[in-house]
């Protein structure tokens, strides 16, 4: 069989894997943003107890690999009766990982709001909540956009690790096919193309966003 035929034949399978990668990424990213925002707000408002818990979670999540987190979810937890299917494990793991990255992204934005802006806000008598609502959050969110976008790309790439718990996303699809038919060149090519289609446009958008924010789409 020619390479072209091999590729054509595998196309439907890759399409499935592609869609699954996108779908899992999307859920993972949305979940991560929600978790990250909550953690970041708990930190910003120095909420007692919950703020500490969030800080500990962020450190644990950031300093351990996704693969180990997934193994834990997939193999270790069922021993105690928490049994999730592979895809749920993947999503939960990705959100567990991504939540901390997103939290750090938001934190960076909030911290990036200049001290003089905060003081000016205080000087006109804004309360803590008002300061957050009118000064820190609007500017901080804008500042954190590049970090959030970079995290999205990171999380999409991390879905490739789902292959270890046999979720049939892009990487798993390619590795399965290689295992069955021993045609690594063609399938690896398809795999790279699959990720390139998703990630090249995103990475171009990220570059533009970084420039925008760096050159102060809004300097005061």
């Amino acid at each position: 069989m020619s390479s072209w035929q091999i590729i054509q034949q595998s196309l439907p399978l890759f399409e499935k894997g592609f869609v699954l990668t996108l779908w899992l990424s999307l859920i993972g990213i949305i979940g991560s943003i929600i978790v990250g925002l909550i953690c970041s707000l708990l930190k910003y408002f120095q909420v007692p107890v919950l703020g500490k818990i969030a800080a500990i979670y962020v450190e644990i999540s950031r300093n351990t690999p996704l693969l180990v987190q997934l193994f834990f979810l997939y193999y270790a937890f069922p021993v105690f009766g928490f049994k999730l299917n592979a895809e749920m494990c993947g999503i939960v793991g990705l959100i567990f990982l991504g939540g901390s990255y997103m939290a750090e992204g938001f934190n960076g934005g909030f911290d990036g709001v200049s001290k003089t802006q905060v003081e000016t806000g205080k000087a006109i008598g804004l309360s803590r909540l008002q300061l957050a609502r009118y000064v820190v959050f609007p500017q901080g969110f804008t500042l954190s956009v590049p970090a959030l976008a970079a995290n999205m790309i990171f999380l999409i790439k991390e879905t490739s690790i789902f292959t270890v718990i046999a979720i049939p996303e892009l990487t798993n699809t390619a590795l399965d096919l290689i295992g069955m038919y021993y045609r690594s060149n063609e399938y690896l090519f398809m795999l790279v193309v699959g990720y390139a289609i998703i990630l090249i446009p995103l990475s171009i958008i990220l570059t533009i966003l970084e420039k925008r924010v760096r050159y102060g789409s809004f300097g005061n």
């Binding site: 300093n63 996704l66 193994f71 834990f72 021993v79 105690f80 292959t163 690594s184 990630l199 090249i200």
Partner: protein, 229 residues
């Protein structure tokens, strides 16, 4: 019976085997980091040179390693090196090579970012006292850039260490692969052993990575405070 499960770690040579696996992991990470960081600095410096072609080629290199997930990079090299290029390397060397090239790509971007953010008048004052290009980089730009980007570099190190967890995918006998074997061999006797084995691997990674990222964070914080006066 969660408590009895922990004994799986003390059964036979299990714990020693796990640490042996960890050593393989650390070794690969260390060699890859040394090679990658050095190559990365060189590439980063080259990326600030005026040649457009050079910059374009290096940018492509960076984007390739940045866009393709590391898992995929590992398999690309694992399959393509022997098949297309006739290079037959053991799996742990393939992994070292991939991590080193990936580290170099990321590092080149960190170094370039730092170099171009050294204020222009520093570069000009250096040239004004007659420094050659090499001297300018050696004495003025690189020292300033290094201190500027140390936190980012440490964060890159923690990322590389975390990424070594992928070694098991190409059958390197790293800590996770050893862990899997231990779990399988002791499954009958210790049904909850899996929790403790993966638990200790979890802790191992955390113990290595947390101090590094704490250090990087502290440096960043200090810098922010200084910038704010």
């Amino acid at each position: 019976m969660a408590h009895s499960g922990i004994n799986v770690l003390f059964e036979g040579r299990n714990l020693i085997r796990l640490f042996g696996g960890l050593w393989t992991t650390v070794e690969i990470a260390a060699v890859a980091l040394v090679l990658g960081l050095i190559l990365g600095v060189v590439l980063g410096v080259l990326r600030t040179f005026p040649s457009r072609l050079l910059r374009f080629v290096l940018r492509l290199y960076l984007e390739f390693f940045r866009i393709i997930p590391t898992v995929v990079l590992l398999f690309l090299f694992y399959y393509i090196l022997p098949k297309q290029m006739g290079v037959n390397l053991p799996a742990n060397q393939v992994a070292t090579l991939v991590f080193a090239l990936w580290t170099a790509a990321e590092m080149s971007d960190i170094v370039r970012g730092a170099l171009i953010s050294v204020p222009k008048h520093q570069r000009e004052s250096g040239m004004a006292i007659g420094l050659s290009r090499w001297q300018l980089y050696r004495y003025v730009l690189i020292p300033q850039a290094v201190s500027l980007e140390l936190p980012a570099t440490i964060n890159l190190v923690t990322r590389v260490i975390k990424t070594t967890s992928l070694l098991m995918l190409i059958s390197v006998m790293d800590v996770i692969n050893v862990g899997q074997q231990v779990v399988e061999a002791n499954n009958q006797k210790y049904p909850t052993g899996v929790f403790w084995v993966y638990g200790i691997i979890f802790v191992m990674y955390f113990v290595i990575d947390y101090p590094l990222s704490w250090w990087a964070k502290r440096m960043d914080k200090k810098r922010l405070e200084r910038a704010n006066g």
